[in-house]
Amino acid sequence: MKRTSKLIIKYLLFGISLGCTFFMVTCLAFSLAGREDILMLICKDFARQSAGAMLVGIAGGGTSVIYQFDRPSSFSKRIIHFCVGMGVFYPVAICLGWIPFYPGNVTLTLLQLLFTCGIFMLIWFCFYLFNRSEAKRINERLRELERDNAGNEKG
């Protein structure tokens, strides 16, 4: 129980740091692009904007803590992670003006939702690529150990 609480707090902090990093990087990008007008808007609403970034960080990054547990099933974990991530990101992004909102225009709203889902999928895919390269390293090490064992048996 204590370990679980520690794990949840760790991921909560990870989510906050992830949100803050994205927030800072975005501001930096606007600054480098000379978009002081956007930066001024962010500064005027700094408390809400930064809190929103942290909240999205927790929802997207922090909730990945679910993969540390053996239950529920892998598929359910993915669904929960996706739903919580999207369920928080989408309203927060609209509320804080990060993405435009088209009330009444179903097609545009759906396209926007699809685009946001696409970004989420892209992040997942990046994690998959990272895991794949790690799996490759592990497999190479397993082959090495196998060769060593075979050599020792012969010796």
């Binding site: 994690f127 390293r137 497999n139 064992n149």
Partner: protein
């Protein structure tokens, strides 16, 4: 403490030399752990079809919890029931065995390969075809045991 480790296939049998000025509890524990390395683990008492078998650890592929039972699969995919909990087995078995999730222990020498999945876990495919997964929680430990961290 400065630690030096030499890895080479030239060493047929691993040995360790410690240069210390006095024996401490930690060092005694380390010595005890090192002595267990490569020591033959006792055979496991397993049950199958109402018969009792003694299985040598090197013949074991995977041990995992299936429902309330602790099940052991050997190289030939034979399925046996064990009467010890996983944490106890983990302490009994030698360094070739590694915990891969809360509910499974795998024999490193019996792993065929690992595969990445989209959800952060890794699928483990044993040489006998049985699959399980390495949870993210135990991945670091798994990599350490392979000498990758």
């Amino acid at each position: 403490m400065r630690v030096e480790c030499k890895i080479s296939t030239a060493y047929k049998e691993p040995y360790a030399v410690l240069h210390i000025n006095k024996m401490t509890g930690t060092i005694a524990e380390i010595i005890s752990m090192l002595e267990k390395e490569n020591a033959n683990s006792p055979a496991l008492v397993a049950a199958k079809d109402k018969k009792t078998y003694f299985i040598k650890p090197e013949d074991i592929s995977l041990i995992r919890a299936e429902g309330r039972d602790i099940i052991c699969y050997d190289r030939l995919k034979n399925r046996y029931g064990l009467d010890k909990p996983l944490y106890e087995l983990e302490n009994t078995l030698d360094a070739n065995f590694v915990r891969i999730s809360k509910s499974a222990i795998a024999n490193i020498n019996q792993i065929h390969h690992v595969e990445a999945s989209f959800n952060g876990t890794m699928e483990l495919v044993m040489k006998n075809g049985i699959t399980d997964y390495i949870s993210r929680r135990f991945r670091k430990n798994f990599k350490e045991r392979l000498g990758l961290e």
